[in-house]
């Protein structure tokens, strides 16, 4: 599959503020791309530039090889789902979905057919004549998606469309959205600050921070191999520990050598990213080679139990299945040793960006 949308050194300034600092991004045809980052990272600005609602201060957008940077939004051929959904309140569900088709000059008959077809796809066949004010949150969501897809756009853009839904509904909608996108095979760009949502939906994850792309790639790769502390933390790594390089090329945590090796010169400040579920507790600390710590806090979360262990300057979060026998009689104040699963830990320099 070829490149569908190519974003070339796009930057955007609002007065003195640089919202985007030279973004380069290639998006493959039919793929699902998630722009992920905290608020203010420029992800929404980038989406609005792709849509044409904002003009890039510099750079180019190529859609199928054609420069669309100068085109007004209504000539760009995309369907968009807004954060507020922006369903037209003075139109019925059917009129909302048919609006783009009407603008393309389709006859009433063909419009009605297409609307019926789409309502079938979003499994809401009976609501065509309802006013949008009579719909539930999930129904509005689906209608907004149907409206955007009705015109069979080249690009499907979504600006945090699921953020207003409650957790359960959001989960169901994520699955539905992914299925719809695959069914239509449309190139899709979704903006979100929710890492679980991004992980579940994306073919390609683009992590953004302060107007720049931190890292891009397949979600599993980024999850396993975050390039820096920011990405690791944003993707839910619960422990970002301060470490340093020893003379022997070993990563030291609180002065104790760990199993990790580094090629950084001795004394370099490093970060060790460890997921809470990848730490193993050793309750016979005198026999262990791992860093020592003291249990500071224990809480049972139902299926899993979380333990905070204080080691030197940092506190390590450990998550174990509640049934794990090692938890038996574990008390606050007990001395334990920590073992890290080398496979699931990542070491990077403290100054990596």
């Amino acid at each position: 599959m070829g490149i569908d949308l190519s974003i070339a050194s796009v930057s955007k300034k609002f007065g003195q503020f640089e919202a985007l600092k030279g973004i380069d991004l290639d998006i493959e045809k039919g793929s699902f791309v998630c722009l992920l980052g905290p608020s203010g990272c420029g992800k929404t600005t980038l989406l609005r530039i792709i849509a044409g609602f904002e003009k890039a201060s510099a750079g180019q957008l190529l859609l199928g090889g054609n420069d669309i940077s100068r085109l007004p939004p209504h000539k760009r051929d995309f369907g968009m789902v807004f954060q507020s959904l922006a369903l037209f309140p003075h139109m019925s569900v059917a009129e909302n979905i048919a609006y783009g088709l009407k603008l393309r000059g389709l006859s009433k008959l063909k419009r009605d057919d297409r609307v019926a077809e789409l309502l079938e796809v979003i499994s809401l066949p009976a609501i065509a004549d309802r006013p949008v004010s009579a719909l539930s949150g999930g129904q509005r969501q689906r209608v907004a998606i149907a409206r955007a897809l009705a015109v069979q756009p080249r690009l499907f853009l979504l600006d945090e469309p699921l953020s207003a839904l409650d957790a359960q509904l959001r989960d169901a909608m994520q699955i539905e959205l992914r299925q719809l996108q695959q069914q239509f095979g449309v190139t899709t760009i979704l903006v979100t600050h929710d890492q679980t949502e991004a992980m579940m939906l994306a073919d390609k994850l683009v992590v953004m921070k302060e107007g720049e792309i931190c890292q891009q790639g397949a979600p599993q790769d980024i999850y396993r191999q975050p390039a820096n502390a920011f990405t690791a933390e944003f993707l839910g790594a619960s422990n970002i520990l301060d470490a340093s390089a020893s003379d022997q090329g070993q990563v030291q945590l609180s002065g104790v050598d760990t199993v990790f090796r580094t090629d950084a010169p001795a004394g370099t400040a490093l970060k060790l990213s460890v997921r809470a579920e990848s730490v193993v507790l050793d309750r016979a600390p005198h026999l262990s080679s791992g860093p020592l710590g003291e249990v500071e806090f224990i809480r049972n979360l139902g299926a899993s139990t979380e333990i905070l262990v204080r080691t030197g300057v940092s506190t390590v979060r450990v998550r174990l299945p509640s049934r794990d026998s090692i938890l038996q009689d574990l008390r606050v104040g007990e001395q334990v040793a920590l073992q890290f699963d080398a496979e699931s830990c990542v070491v990077f320099r403290a100054d990596a960006a």
Partner: protein
Amino acid sequence: MSVSAHEGRPRVLPLPRRGIRVNALYRRSAPWLLCLPALLLITPFLAACLYMLRFSVSADTGAIDGFSLQAYVELAQPYFLRSVWLTLKLAATSTMIVLVLAIPLAIMIVTTRSASWRRVLTVVVLLPMILNLLIQSYGWILLLGPAGAINTALTQLGIIERPLILLFNEKGVLLGLVQTSLPLAVFPLMSAMRVVSQEYLEAASGLGASQWRSFADITLPLLKPGLISAGSIVFAFNASAFAVPLLLGGRRVRMLGLAIRDMISPLFNWSGAAAGGMVLILIITLVLVFSTWLVSRSSVRGVS
């Protein structure tokens, strides 16, 4: 039946009964109490209306005496019917023109990003409302009158020999009506614009609508309730205009206000004037009722 403490339930202290009753009474009457000053203020006006209604069915033209519909029957004369028609025509035309001018003004003010520019624009639109109607009309006379700035300039430039008749005709009155009532339409439209979120317009343009198309398909329908209320305010204001047709019409454009005054001042036909006034009130009331009905019909679809 009493609930004792040892059954394990927390004891609930009963509220004093008198307190509850006073509270309920207070809650029911509070809105009325708050309305009282306003009601007192409009009472003399309502009384005057009733007094006029009584006068309009008086058998005597100069005093309230007996009952007769004579005054209304006498209104069915060409001079009065022409006046009614002229009033309807000028009020409707000026309302249309005002709305067409007010929509872009309101949109411009609401979409201006800089707060200080928005304030400047608002004050410019508001300014005529601060000035007295008489002063505004004299302003037009100074500008457009036979010896006004425009005629003087054109004469001195040799473009015209005799002054153009720009005022003292229907067009002059229309101009005055439009200018004096413009702010009355701009402000309701500005608040109506709040319904038209930027995201609706962006959604429309994403679906392929040009700016004009989304204005026609999205902005205008959403503005409809605002347009109707702005329109009915302007219509009522202009149908009852008096100073503007008096000064800019030069008594040649006899709108209802002038016709009614003429019945009183040279003719001393008090019951006729009262009947004419009732006709004016009726016309305006009908228009307001009709527009309220239009608004409530359009809000059925979920646009408030």
